[in-house]
């Protein structure tokens, strides 16, 4: 058992204990390590000013080399960075020479006030790591920069900088920092679990599920921490940190992600970016939809299980999971023998109310599973938000129907349907009345009347993201869009 978390920062190993372990990474870098290049603007993952690169070899993994990827350091708890290698903007120059992203930003006037600049440099560097040797076009560049806000430049010069990047293997930080000795040190440290404490706070990271469930049973108030992209935000906004945090990052099983012919299974520590990769084949519509989810910085670390466990009514993956037969796998310590007790909870039974899950005390989520939809299913996922990218949904929708007759003549036959909406109630919901009414032959006229039914079967609220009426109209209009696409094949 270790008494510290181990991480590398710009090539230097750091053993972290006490107060430091419970700080947010950005704050720790700036104030404790004297690396103020990393900026904090929003402290909630929405601006990218705090972007750093992170490489992490999951325990027991056989990755040839863990890539350095962009992440937000403002909402990452230092202890949870155990095993990772973090590179900050201060670590980018090599022997006094600017890194390619730095030189390009300078050459193209990509920086005015400069406050966003370190974050952009790091996001661009993350892109360089991923696309070394490939040409960068505006679309690729924009997709890597979705998580970074700039108020001065209008982005044009930054995009120009991105597209002018001549990246080669030689420019990568990966080989410079991710050396074998450092990785070996991190791996061997991660073979033992650790616990750190400070001022009434505890952070535990066991190496097996049994230990984790034991810890959960012994500490009723525990919270599991994933990438803390959700958990970290209220803490930064003045809410106290949960007193007992449990991290599953040292348990190899949590990194499993696989798809067989009928189902996809995703472990609790699988980041959304990896899930996106897996789904490209296994659930293409979901993969496409994930492109509108948050930002690269968030997706490189955030987990599907975290999205589910947060239980937000506007969790973007939830409507999909509701229509794709999603279920969560949970584990706890059995009553008598102390062995592991596992069960599955279907998504349709998971939410009891606003952000309330039907987990028993001591239970934690180990993985999620959902169906691979066959070719007789027509699925569409929609998201409407105030701003197209990096925004929380006003309304999101997952509409899936089972076809019994191919289209033609302006009509299709529907034998079954699963329709779900997010953002229109305290939890994501299915629309049973519409699901029932939709069965049969569907043409333009029926789509129109069903759209009315959709609007009529919800009672959304007004909030900062839109009025109740807007949500109703959106829900109906998204259904109309679905119907149109269905008829058009």
């Amino acid at each position: 058992m270790r008494d510290h978390a181990l991480l590398h920062v710009n090539g230097v190993a750091r053993e972290v204990r006490g107060r430091d372990a419970f700080m947010m990474l950005a704050e720790w870098l700036r104030k404790e390590l004297g690396l103020p290049g990393t900026k904090i603007v929003c402290a909630e993952g929405d601006c990218g000013a705090c972007t750093v690169l992170r490489a992490f070899d999951p325990p027991g993994s056989s990755f040839p080399e863990a890539p350095f990827e962009a992440m937000n350091s403002c909402i990452a708890i230092v202890a949870a960075m155990d095993g990772a290698h973090v590179v900050t903007v201060e670590g980018m120059e090599s022997e006094g020479e600017l890194a390619p992203a730095q030189a390009a930003m300078r050459r193209c006037h990509g920086s005015q006030c400069g406050f966003c600049t370190p974050g952009f440099v790091m996001a661009l560097s993350g892109m360089v790591e991923q696309h070394a040797g490939e040409p960068i076009d505006r679309r690729v560049a924009a997709n890597h920069l979705t998580g970074n806000l700039c108020r001065c430049t209008g982005y044009e010069p930054i995009l120009e900088a991105a597209c002018s990047l001549r990246t080669s293997e030689a420019h990568r930080v990966g080989p410079r920092y991710g050396t074998l000795d450092r990785r070996a040190r991190a791996r061997s440290a991660m073979e033992s679990g650790f616990e750190v404490e400070h001022d009434g706070l505890r952070f535990a990271a066991p190496t097996s599920l049994e230990e984790a469930c034991g810890f959960a049973a012994a500490n009723p108030g525990f919270r599991v921490v994933g990438a803390s992209t959700d958990l970290g935000v209220p803490i930064n906004k003045g809410r106290p940190m949960p007193e007992t945090l449990l991290s599953l990052h040292l348990i190899p099983e949590m990194y499993e992600a696989r798809a067989d012919d009928s189902r996809v299974s995703v472990g609790a520590r699988v980041p959304l970016s990896r899930l996106r990769h897996l789904c490209a084949d296994a659930a293409p519509e979901f993969a496409r939809f994930l492109d509108l989810f948050a930002s690269p910085q968030i997706k490189n670390v955030a987990t599907l299980v975290g999205n589910i466990a947060t239980g937000s009514p506007i969790g973007d993956t939830l409507p999909f999971l509701l229509v794709a037969g999603g279920a969560v796998g949970v584990a706890s310590l059995g009553e008598g023998d102390g062995g592991l007790k596992r069960r599955e909870i279907p998504m349709t039974e998971l939410y009891r109310g606003y952000r309330q899950l039907s987990l028993a005390p001591g239970e934690l989520i180990t993985h999620v599973t959902f169906d691979r939809l066959g070719s007789d299913r027509f699925l569409r996922l929609y998201k409407v938000s105030q701003r197209k990218d990096l925004d929380i949904s006003t309304v999101s929708a997952a509409f899936s129907v089972k076809l019994d007759r191919a289209g033609g003549g302006g009509a299709v036959g529907v034998s079954a349907a699963r329709l779900a909406l997010g953002g229109v109630a305290a939890t994501p919901i299915r629309l049973p009345a519409v699901e029932e009414a939709i069965v049969g032959t569907l043409d333009a006229a029926r789509i129109e009347s069903l759209a009315e039914l959709v609007a009529g079967s919800i009672r959304p609220l007004s909030d900062v993201r839109g009025s109740a009426a807007y949500r109703s109209v959106l829900a109906a209009n998204l259904f109309r869009r679905f119907g149109r696409e269905l008829l058009d094949g």
Binding site: G37, K39, C42, Q112, C116
Partner: protein
């Protein structure tokens, strides 16, 4: 994007050599993360971190504020309340705003106490233990409520020409309406920040993220009860300002200084983005009622408009902002009969303040939106109506009586119309919209004619200190604050040019009130105009003396030069006479050249001449003061020369709207501006694209949402959506025309900070264009659809599906 200015589209223009595209002077430290902002300053031993306690209600009486539990948290050093403030009132125009609430909060987010602690954890804990009891009081939340209650700030201002009432009565066509423009947050990335260092042996030193170090110095001194010379305010650089740090940085700095003075320890107050957005004011919301008269060809005959703005709880700069709105109601168009009246309302919102454009965008929004409606009413293309009404020879005097010299507007319209293929695209859009399927599209071209100068005359002054060193390098200090606009780089370019040296031989030093006092805020796009001119004046004083010395040395045998004799005192000392040097002198390529009258030119390396000057006891440093000449606007009469010159431009925007959701995508923008002869082309282009995209946010997605108690809910980027990289126009052609005719200003430049933002209104008018064509298609008749700013997706869908929304809301 073109990377070079193109030739002006009219006669008399010459292509100049490359105006230079020096990278920003901080670009290297920006990209390496070494640029230091206030909160990057290393922590001092014993330093305290501060946090704010503020009202959650728009208006409320403070019944009880109990800080005992908060102060009992280990590590908490002190709490400051109103009783601790020596002079609890400040304000740029009216001194009326408290630094800390005494008994009654006038807006949600008004600060009532500051807590200071040794660690962030202790501070967070202490803030959770503050016990404040408020009695919520009735509040004024809207402009209409303020009007009903006659709750105003300052007096109503009027600008008039001709007889608007009579001309309206006689006009063949009339339209009237109300335009609603909401607030917008500056969203500078660096939130307000200040660190105060108490000095046992000297003045208190405040590092502040302020656009106005002088005012900050004064407000801090007053709050602490100190004379001005006991406070130094330093502003190294800002992570963005956009007007939001012109006035509102001062009380923040004062709060940090109060803690520092009380405890004798350094104190740091860095607002979280949430607190920053809740506490500080925004762009003023406006509500404009108007009536316009025009003829069948769309010629504008009369405009009568009543502008009301929401000033928030305190005056701040709102009256000056209103003045600028009134001065921009004409924008690019000649209207013979005008009466525009403006009144600032006092409400219970955060005190609204300067924001890029400073009222100008509201006036411009009004007339540009009117033109769209006029065009639809008379059945013409809006661009034709614009080109008919544009200021032109014979019709080039504004409603406030200033003649527009150097009017490029007709040429800019003409040039952009063909460059952006306006007519062909208009046709394509018309037919694609008529189909009624697929995305809905809209196109609109608007203009900007932005007056440069502070409308308050006394602010149009600046000073600069130029220290030349004997190796030929220069340090310049001015009151200008660098916040990304590149003012330091431009000033360095101006100074480098004066001395004929490379730009990297000039360093612009940290802005500090101990070097430059009584300065104006860095605002009104005038930072380079004013401070660059002051620096140039200081340079000219030095080059005049050096020129005399060079003339003198030319005729002096080498062994009599001061470097040979000064130490010994064997030769008489040269005394610089009045007036210009006898033979003209050029400063070029690091050397000083005296023109030959007949014989060979005399050339001496600058460092050598500087050495000789020093030894001759001739000052090679100087201080320049500049006051903009020829300004004379009478605010009470609403007439006069309000501006030194006008920055001008046009932009055409094409938008695409999702009919089912109201979401907008900007497909293409073509933008053409006249910025005179730029000092630095790249920096100007940066201002243009940056300003345009910033304005796009204001007119589309940036939506401030308040709860029922008047507290801002959208106080962070998760709910307040500024444009992201994905929102930039898919095609974005920006170009500058070269114009050498602007003689009004330093080096013939034109200010570029604010004007481009106003061109983003073309996105909003394009949205209206799309929506109105859709309504016309759906209903088969003309419908003029008002859409408030911002035109959010919801508002757009509401405008398109008005009946559906009405039915649902009636349920």
């Amino acid at each position: 994007m073109a990377d070079r200015p193109t030739e002006a589209p009219r006669e008399g223009a010459t292509v100049l050599p490359d105006p230079g595209s020096e990278p920003h002077d901080s670009s290297r430290t920006h990209v390496t993360g070494r640029s230091e902002y206030v909160d990057d300053r290393p922590l001092m031993r014993g330093e305290l971190v501060c946090g704010l306690v503020y009202s959650p209600y728009a208006r409320a009486r403070l019944v009880k504020l109990d800080l005992t539990a908060a102060c009992a948290v280990p590590g908490v050093a002190c709490a400051i309340t109103a009783a601790d403030v020596a002079r609890n009132a400040w304000g740029s125009i009216f001194v009326e705003q408290p630094i800390l609430v005494e008994q009654e909060a006038q807006h949600a987010g008004e600060v009532v106490a500051v807590l200071a602690a040794e660690s962030r954890e202790a501070l967070a804990k202490a803030l959770r233990r503050v016990h404040a009891e408020w009695e919520e009081l009735p509040a004024i939340r809207t402009i209409d409520e303020a009007i009903a209650a006659a709750s105003f700030i300052g007096v109503e201002r009027t600008i008039a020409r001709g007889d608007a009432t009579a001309a309206l009565a006689a006009a063949p066509h009339r339209l009237s309406g109300t335009l609603v423009i909401e607030a917008a947050d500056h969203f500078y990335l660096e939130s307000h920040a200040a660190v105060a260092y108490p000095r046992a042996d000297g003045p208190i030193e405040v590092h502040s993220s302020t656009q106005h170090p002088t005012e900050t110095q004064h407000v801090v001194a007053d709050a602490l009860g100190l004379p001005f010379h006991e406070v130094v305010c330093i502003a190294r650089r800002l992570g963005g300002g956009f007007g939001g740090k012109e006035t509102q940085a001062a009380p923040i700095a004062a709060l940090a200084a109060l803690v520092a003075k009380r405890t004798g320890r350094p104190a740091r107050l860095v607002l979280s983005k949430d607190d920053d957005m809740i506490v500080t004011g925004k762009r003023n919301p406006f509500q404009i009622r108007y009536e316009v008269g025009f003829d069948g060809a769309g010629m504008l005959l009369a405009l009568d408009a009543q502008l009301h703005s929401d000033g928030g709880a305190y005056a701040d700069l709102s009256t000056a902002i209103m003045e600028r709105a009134l001065l921009h109601c004409d924008n690019a168009y000649f209207v013979p009969n005008v009466r525009v009246r403006g009144q600032v309302c006092r409400t219970n919102h955060h005190p609204h303040t300067a924001f890029r454009g400073f009222g100008g965008p509201k006036g411009v929004a009004l007339i540009e939106s009117i033109i769209e409606d006029v065009a639809r009413t008379v059945g013409c293309d809006a661009l034709d109506v614009r080109r008919r009404n544009v200021y032109r020879p014979g019709h080039d005097v504004t409603h406030f009586g200033q003649k527009i010299e150097d009017n490029c507007l007709p040429a800019l319209f003409e040039s952009l119309e063909s460059r952006c293929e306006y007519r062909a695209r208009r046709e394509a859009i018309r037919s694609s919209n008529a189909a009624g399927t697929g995305p809905l599209r809209g196109l609109s071209m608007t203009a900007v004619k932005f007056g440069i100068a502070f409308t308050t005359r006394f602010l149009n002054q600046a000073n600069a200190l130029v220290n030349v060193h004997r190796d030929g390098t220069v340090q310049v200090s001015t009151g200008a604050v660098e916040m990304g606009q590149g003012v330091n780089t431009r000033i360095a370019a101006i100074v480098a040019e004066r001395f004929g040296i490379a730009i990297d031989a000039v360093r612009v030093m940290t802005t500090s009130t101990e070097k430059n006092a009584n300065t104006s805020p860095t605002a009104a796009s005038a930072g380079t105009d004013l401070n660059g001119a002051a620096a140039a004046k200081a340079c000219e004083a030095i080059t005049r003396r050096l020129g005399h010395l060079a003339n003198h040395l030319r005729g002096l045998p080498a062994d009599r030069w001061p470097s040979r004799t000064a130490g010994l005192g064997t030769a008489p000392e040269f005394v610089v006479p009045e007036g210009p040097p006898p033979s003209p002198v050029r400063f070029e390529r690091g050397a000083v050249i005296v023109e030959a009258d007949g014989g060979d030119a005399f050339e001496i390396p600058l460092p050598r001449l500087l050495g000789e000057a020093y030894l001759s006891r001739i000052s090679i440093c100087d201080y320049g003061h500049f006051a903009t000449p020829n300004l004379g606007f009478d605010k009470e009469k609403g007439q006069g020369r309000a501006f030194l010159y006008f920055s001008q431009g046009v932009a055409a925007s094409e938008v695409e709207i999702d009919r089912r959701t109201g979401e907008v995508k900007v497909r293409r923008v073509d933008l053409l501006m006249d910025l005179g002869r730029p000092v630095n082309h790249a920096l100007d282009m940066g201002q243009v694209t940056g300003g345009f995209v910033q304005g796009m946010g204001w007119v589309t997605t940036e939506h401030l949402f308040y709860d029922d108690h008047g507290l801002l809910v959208s106080h962070s980027p998760s709910t307040y959506k500024i444009p992201s990289v994905q929102d930039t126009p898919r095609i974005f052609n920006t170009d500058l025309v070269f114009n050498e005719r602007n003689t009004a200003n330093i080096r013939g430049t034109k200010a570029s900070g604010e004007p481009p933002l106003l061109l983003s209104l073309s996105v909003w008018t394009a949205i209206r264009d799309a929506v109105m064509s859709e309504r016309e298609r759906l209903r088969g008749e003309l419908e003029l659809v008002p859409i408030a700013i911002p035109a959010t997706a919801e508002r757009i869908l509401r405008a398109i599906e008005r009946e559906t929304f009405a039915a649902i809301e009636a349920r």
